[in-house]
């Protein structure tokens, strides 16, 4: 019942799948009964997998389901314990990733793995430079790179430094690098996680063009809407086992999520959560008046009441993040006032905000959130310890009790306080970050994209936690790129557009209400980010 057309009304419809009659053709890359064990873990158990030429195939599963392991087996990074990898029907055993690439299987990893100081052309052809009399032929190299980029429809000067381009272009260059070797199989591992809606669309255009040229594309993403928008077929893994192989057009989101999770959806997934009584008659705990910053966000008024979840809706770049950074003092406002608990916050900056009971979890977990090389314990107590000052260390026992308690309450895995945080998965890192702030017992908790890039199980847990905290009297300010998530959790929705707060809506407003406000009177491109998420949920 869901279709890509419905999900993205502004886009020309995707060429329909039937003319490519997928199921009859011989797979270009396949796995048969693939198993791999690591000490104590069966990472994959007898997984069958088929990737057909000229299809975009989505590999779905929660974190730890075995997606990365499967990719690594297919590309020769890991060697399976049992089973076979077949290329064109013949068993192959790539000795190393480069051998896979020589055989036409190219992989683009999640983090852009390029050299920002080199030129675009050098990045595309690194290690495969055209040579002339033994020297690198710069002109031929740029020409070859320009040809590839043009074939992809990417406008970027091959002679410019890669670092001078936005992440999206760098991502496309990474793909150019992967296909310059005439790849027949292109594996894209979370290629969209740092792109905004327009950039995703650009990427998909390239992906579709490659598909139509006959390349088999394996696509891994956490974004359900993107999977439904771009893929032809999908394979679902759970706990290292194959649970389903489907044609995308015949699959509903509910079915897919059910397979990925292997359990019934919890209440907060299926239906709007029971909301607390209306909080707006109480005294606000956070009151901003005319708060603004030039080049950041225009002056705005905002009240947040105890026990209330205020959601911020808007497109990427609409000023959502800039607004909450002013509330916390992460950036210095140049106008307006901020009151917390009825008292004017004069000193500006994170320390003052923390002292007043405001907590802020940044959208950029890695750069601005966790301290990767410190343990879970140290990360969790960091904010509380910072507010106590260096001279009054938390007693060891109090520290251990707090950390144990939050590891249990947030279901952290592994449940060890000594693990270095950089070794945790994204969802667990987010939980550590949440614990760091919850340990300080904040009155106002600001969460910027707390569910970005984490698996659905952890998403549900964090959503439940937000509701639980609000029920306990904490005020929560929530940003999420998934409007549906904001609508589900928030008692009140603040709509942002072009770095301006344009409206406040009650929590039971509909997706279309918000869309209407944002889309009113101008540009069409604005729909991209919000459209898929919302339309999808309604129809599912």
């Amino acid at each position: 019942m869901t279709t890509p057309e419905r999900a993205a009304p502004q886009r020309p419809p995707t060429p329909a799948a039937p003319d490519r009659g997928p199921d009859q053709r011989a797979p270009v890359l396949a796995a048969q009964g693939l198993s791999i064990e690591f000490p104590g873990v069966k990472a994959l158990q007898e997984v069958d997998f088929r990737l057909l030429p000229g299809e975009v195939h989505a590999l779905m599963g929660e974190n730890g389901a075995g997606k990365s392991t499967l990719i690594k087996c297919l590309t020769g990074v890991y060697r399976p314990t049992a089973g076979a990898v077949l290329l064109d029907g013949r068993p192959v055993s790539f000795s190393r990733p480069a051998a896979a690439q020589e055989a036409g299987v190219s992989t683009v990893y999640q983090e852009v793995n390029l050299c920002p100081n080199l030129t675009v052309a050098e990045n595309i052809l690194l290690g495969r430079e055209p040579r002339r009399l033994g020297m690198v032929d710069g002109r031929a190299m740029r020409a070859r790179a320009a040809e590839v980029l043009e074939g992809m429809g990417v406008r970027a000067d091959p002679g410019s430094a890669l670092g001078s381009h936005p992440i999206a272009v760098q991502q496309l260059v990474a793909i150019a690098r992967a296909i310059v070797v005439d790849a027949r199989v292109l594996i894209l591992d979370e290629p969209t996680s740092s792109l905004d809606a327009d950039e995703v669309e650009e990427l998909f255009r390239v992906v579709r063009a490659q598909r139509d040229a006959g390349t088999a594309i394996l696509f891994v993403s956490h974004f359900l809407e993107q999977v439904f928008a771009v893929s032809d077929r999908m394979t679902v893994l759970r706990n290292g086992q194959l649970v389903g192989e489907h044609r995308t057009s015949g699959t509903t989101r509910l079915q897919l999520v059910g397979e990925m999770l292997g359990r019934e959806l919890s209440a907060s997934d299926a239906a709007p959560a029971a909301r607390g009584d209306d909080a707006s008659d109480r005294e606000p705990v956070l009151r901003a008046r005319g708060l603004g910053r030039r080049g950041g966000v225009e002056p705005f008024d905002l009240d947040v009441h105890p026990g209330e979840v205020v959601g911020l809706a808007g497109l990427l770049g609409s000023g959502r993040t800039e607004l909450v950074r002013l509330l916390f003092g992460a950036d210095r406002p140049d106008s307006g006032t901020l009151e917390v608990g009825g008292r004017r916050l004069r000193a500006r900056g994170p320390r003052a905000a923390v002292a007043a009971g405001v907590a802020f979890s940044s959208e950029d977990r890695r750069a601005e959130g966790v301290v990767g090389d410190l343990s879970v314990r140290d990360n969790m107590v960091l904010a509380l310890q910072a507010s106590r000052g260096w001279a009054r260390p938390l007693p060891q026992r109090a520290k251990d009790e707090l950390v144990e308690e939050w590891i249990r309450r947030l279901d952290l895995r592994p449940a060890s306080p000594d693990t270095l945080v950089r070794n945790l998965s994204g969802g667990n890192q987010q939980k550590v970050l949440l614990a760091r702030w919850l340990i300080t017992r904040p009155r106002v908790l600001i969460l910027d994209e707390p569910t970005r890039g984490i698996d659905i199980g952890a998403k549900t847990q964090i959503a439940d936690l937000v509701l639980e905290l609000a029920a306990g009297g904490t005020a929560v300010v929530l940003i999420s790129a998934e409007l549906e998530e904001v609508l589900r959790l928030a008692h009140r929705v603040v709509v942002m557009k072009d770095r301006r707060k344009i409206a406040e809506l009650p929590g039971d407003c509909s997706f279309d209400d918000v869309m209407g406000l944002i889309a009113r009177s101008d540009d069409d491109h604005a729909h991209h980010e919000l459209a898929p998420a919302g339309a999808e949920r309604r129809t599912a």
């Binding site: 410190l374 910072a386 260096w390």
Partner: protein
């Protein structure tokens, strides 16, 4: 997986991994090896005896001569933990000596205890100012530490020359001399000062939250700021502390020879200190630091210097000898280099399996062309990286 296998898994990484995993193992082994070498050459090397009110022996000499480097390295450890570096300590050593000696020499009574106290206090106050300058450039202006401290490294000796009027200032003050050459409780004063500072810093940073804050800022400054840490103050403090350590080291050096030599006092001490910190297992990338490691590192450096003299390495190649030993220690510390060595030894067995052949192909080429000893290890490492990077 059977219970036996599981048990083996648990035992496997147990003892060996814990011993080889410790950051201190290899520098300690290096230190022991150097001591053994010295004892072999000079059987009386380890003997220590009491003569009058003081201890005599090579070990005491090593500790005493290594005290300034150790002290500077303690300050450097905290700076490096914040992902910084302080190149100016050598210059600060010279300035501290110059200020103290000039002040004492121009005092009304150059041999009185009060002249020494005034001279040393002035010197340390100047060092605090120098540290504030470094900290200002790094934490407020935001200049990269290596450049910011390069300013004072270059200018510092000039400043010291200005203070001493380009002369070597000699003084004769028993109180000042005691700081560099005196004995208390049988031990040389410099040892007591350096070890005292080391212990005090260890207690101060590990018993309070200061160590956590320093590491946190070193690993992720922005996350630390958003968690409510005073990142800037912490940065500033470690640079002031580093300069203060260098200042005290400068007093020791000047007091030991009763003179301030703006040109040569503390020459290259910044490099020895950085080396001591790194040998001790603290990464130049910031974050986790080990003061015990720094102590071992400083002792390795000083023992090495002593060894060069005692085993009669010709002076013209003594620096090369030092460099070779340091490289060996680093290679032993590097898990990658150790892994390559182990694999190389096992290769005949693995080469037969289909799995071994292809995967090691690039390493083989480099290895066979590279000769023996540590050289092929160094050649292999980048090769191996390139392969992974291209994938």
């Amino acid at each position: 997986m059977s219970a036996q296998q599981l048990a083996a898994e648990e035992r496997g990484p147990g003892l060996v991994a814990r011993a080889t995993g410790s950051r201190l193992l290899w520098p300690v082994l290096a230190l022991v090896a150097l001591l053994v070498l010295n004892t072999a050459v000079n059987p009386g090397f380890l003997s220590v005896e009491v003569r009058g009110d003081r201890l005599y022996g090579s070990l005491v000499d090593i500790l005493k001569n290594g005290a300034p480097v150790l002290l500077v390295a303690v300050g450097m450890t905290l700076v490096i933990a914040t992902r910084g570096i302080d190149l100016s300590v050598g210059a600060v050593v010279a300035i501290a000596g110059a200020v103290a000696c000039t002040s004492v020499a121009t005092a009304p009574d150059p041999s009185s205890p009060s002249a020494a106290v005034v001279g040393m206090s002035t010197a340390l106050a100047v060092c605090v100012l120098l540290g504030l300058w470094n900290g200002f450039l790094v934490s407020v202006v935001g200049i990269q530490p290596i450049i910011a401290t390069l300013v004072l490294m270059t200018a510092g000796r000039g400043i010291a020359m200005l203070i001493t009027d380009a002369q070597i200032i000699t003084v004769n003050n028993p109180t000042l001399n005691a700081v560099g050459a005196g004995f208390v409780l049988l031990l040389p004063v410099p040892i007591l000062i350096s070890v005292g500072v080391l212990v005090a810093v260890a207690l101060l940073t590990r018993r309070t939250a200061l160590g956590l804050f320093v590491e946190s800022v070193g690993i992720n400054p922005e996350a630390s700021r958003l968690a409510g840490l005073r990142s800037r103050t912490i940065l500033w403090t470690v640079y002031v502390f580093s300069a203060l350590c260098a200042g005290v080291a400068g007093l020791m050096i000047a007091a030991n020879v009763n003179a301030a030599d703006a040109n040569n006092a503390g020459l290259w001490i910044e490099l020895d200190a950085i080396l001591a910190v790194v040998i001790g297992g603290t990464s130049l990338a910031g974050g986790r630091y080990s003061l015990a490691g720094t102590l071992v590192g400083a002792m390795v450096i000083q023992t090495l210097t002593t060894t060069v003299y005692s085993i009669g390495v010709p002076p013209e190649v003594s620096l090369v000898f030092k460099a070779v030993v340091v490289i060996l220690v680093f290679l032993a510390q590097s898990p990658q280099a150790r892994g390559l060595l182990v694999r190389r030894r096992r290769r005949p067995a693995a080469a037969g399996s289909p799995r071994g052949g292809g995967r090691r192909a690039p390493g083989d080429g480099a290895g066979s062309s590279g000769g023996t000893g540590s050289t092929p290890v160094r050649e292999d490492a980048p090769q191996e990286h390139q392969e992974v990077g291209r994938a």
